[in-house]
Amino acid sequence: MDGGAAHGAARSWSGQQIRFMTAGSVDDGKSTLIGRLLLDPHALMRDQAAGLEGDDIDLAALTDGLEAERAQGITIDVAYRYFATPRTSFIIADAPGHEQYTRNMVTAASVSDVAVLVIDAARVENGQLKPQTRRHAAVAGLMGLDLIVVVNKMDLVGWSQERFDEVRTAFGDVAGLLGLKNIAFTPVSAKRGDNIVRRGGADWYDGPTLVEQLESARPRESQADGPLRLPVQVVLRHGGTRYYAGRIESGAVRPGDKVRVGPAAVEASVAQVRIGGVGVARAEAGASVALELAEDRDLAQGGVIADAQVRYTRRFAADLCWLDENAWVRGRRYRLRQGALETQALIEDVRFVRDMSSLAEAPASGLKLNDIARVSIGARDPILADLYDDLPGTGAFVLFDPDTNQTAAAGMIREILP
């Protein structure tokens, strides 16, 4: 095939892909911002953009999808949007602003490389952020996302640099409490399109536009330098050979590598690395592979192929976001999923629940929908003793309710307990 004819259009499209989430309180203009991102880089096809001409366009109408939402004028679920700039293609995971749907923000954060948080510049008074804004920032911090704070509606405050700095300061205080590391701020007017794709508005601001910041974000899955973690999803049998198939969550693997297999960390060596049925010389984090081992080892679905330093544990402390409408009941057992493993788990103790207004750690005896808490957990089978900050792929876990099958909680391992 001759690819020459496609070059002009296609070259501009073949950059990397960044997945980001958006969050904001209901009136901060988040839907308008997303509409602007979709409209300005010309990502919208003509029929979707119909009715969006003129100065006073309803950008929010682009993203509010379901009929029920249209009627209420709110977004109630996570929605995914696509657009591309000449350098990069993007997937937006749009999380809702409503407090009761924090679980959807957690969901969006878990599949994102970076978080964009929208704040209405006109609504920050006396240096105070709204409780929902604090909650959103807390979730981004908890889940280890870099944060881009978009200070919106700057046109309504006359592009006041003082107001912009006030928001930065208010946020800076909160960020310290939450342990947020990388935060960037951009003054914008989503409605007018200033500093989203094209510059405008403030002559005092010479930093990057929102899109420039997004283009330089790092994909989160670049964990190729870490220790090997390959959870086995399924064992493929062909002839007399067994192939351990799964996605590499961290590290890289080559034929000949010495690895450790299962909770007993039995040594084995890699005979073959396959992708799509074909042998390759090397595969790294993010790749879905099938490994053949040189030795016969006892390894099944749910087991892990790892490096020599791997450690397992049955007890650990974790941050939990409670996602289920059914509150936690002491003594109740849940299914815990880490990588490809499912085992039983028991929440032994709730150390504290974070109060989202003060961001303080408050003692608590229960867990209910949207609570963010530090807990200690015991598991029936050994799980990888990986901290979320070091190894997000395997330091994360979820809890399922074994009776309702609902997803009960999202967890991040913080500490290994004896």
Binding site: M1, G3, A5, A6, H7, A10, R11, W13, G15, Q17, M45, R46, T63, G65, L66, E67, A68, I76, D77, A79, Y80, Y82, S89, V106, T107, V111, A224, Q233, V234, L236, A245, G246, R247, I275, G276, G277, V278, V280, A281, R282, A283, E284, A285, G286, A287, S288, V289, A290, Q301, L323, R337, G339, A396, F397, V398, F400, N405, Q406, T407, A410
Partner: protein, 320 residues
């Protein structure tokens, strides 16, 4: 079937991939393929899973990835096609040939049979049968007790679909209530279902139309000839080109003309329109796609244009 990565090399970095088409976004396609393979391997969990295989391009890509996901073993899926009876013969021939090539069992269930049973009643003999597919699909799901049905739907297709989970949990009578869907975190999918429930799974959720075509180019996936330029009798109506067939004759006062067209989707004859095109192969189509001004469904699907919320309603009725 030819597979990519015939030479060893670093994956995800993409630099050692065979470079047939230098403009194809290797790193991005690798990420999307790896994600789809990961999702498909999750489905080994189910006892009776089936791939919805219509012979359309998205299902062709889905089948291709499924074969790769389980190679060198056989993919643990059957193929299921809900045939409206209004399909182009080229597509049906392609469907049968692909099924045979992969060695997977193909199950075909006809909307016609649902009509005969009385579970589907149409307004007229030539009415679109797209909505009726949902009924026949549910009947087939129950007949074979499928616990997972795997579809090639993408989130970029339509607003309501943009909110679909990758694992979309269905009970017997409320197939797609958007409020009841489970949160989906880190790719740690919740696969559990209760008695009488099933899972609809969409491994290509994060792909766009351009990604699909780029992947078809890279993997050299064969498609029905309707996807490429050919001469066809059409009439112009409401800004769309309507194919002239026995089921869809010209209306009074309309004049058929013969022009070069291709189909962007190949659904039910009565509701799928071609677009004017000279694109002769997948690279040509990719180029057109990247410069297209009208989205896939808007250009070609009459039933979606009927109502902005058409897709969402069909979802509630169990349509994919």
């Amino acid at each position: 079937m030819r597979l990519a990565y015939e030479h060893g090399g670093a994956l995800m970095a993409g630099e050692a991939l065979e470079a047939q088409a230098p403009h194809v976004a290797a790193a991005r396609l690798d990420r999307l393929e790896a994600e789809a393979v990961h999702i498909l391997r999750e489905l080994a969990f189910y006892e009776r899973a089936a791939i919805m295989f219509s012979g359309g391009k998205d299902s062709a890509v889905l089948l291709h990835v499924a074969i790769k996901a389980f190679a060198p073993a056989r993919a643990p899926f059957r193929l299921l096609h809900i045939d409206t009876g209004h399909n182009y013969p080229e597509v049906i021939a392609y469907r049968d040939a692909r099924a045979k090539e992969t060695g997977l069992t193909l199950i075909v269930r006809e909307v016609e049979d649902s009509i005969r049973r009385g579970s589907v009643r149409l307004a007229s003999a030539t009415a679109s049968r797209n909505a009726a597919q949902a009924v026949t699909l549910t009947e087939a799901q129950q007949e074979f007790e499928f616990d997972a049905l795997i579809g090639g739907a993408r989130r970029d297709e339509e607003k309501a679909r943009a909110k679909e989970r990758i694992f979309s949990h269905r009970d017997a009578f409320a197939p797609g209530s958007p409020r009841a869907q489970r949160p989906e975190l880190w790719g740690l999918y919740n696969r559990h279902i209760g008695v009488g429930e099933n899972m609809r799974v969409f491994p290509l959720s994060n792909w766009t139309e351009a990604d699909i075509w780029a992947y078809i180019v890279r993997e050299r996936i064969e498609l029905p000839s309707l996807y490429f330029t050919h001469e066809r009798d059409v009439v112009r109506r409401d800004g769309l080109l309507f194919p002239v067939t026995q089921l869809t004759p010209p209306q009074e006062g309309e004049v058929a003309e013969r022009i070069k067209v291709r189909f962007r989707t190949v659904g039910d004859i009565t509701c799928t329109c071609p677009v004017e095109s000279f694109a002769a192969d997948a690279i040509d189509v990719l180029t057109e796609t990247l410069t297209a001004a009208v989205s896939e469904r808007g250009a070609t699907r009459m039933d979606d244009r009927a109502n902005a919320a058409a897709m969402e309603r069909r979802k509630l009725e169990g349509y994919f």
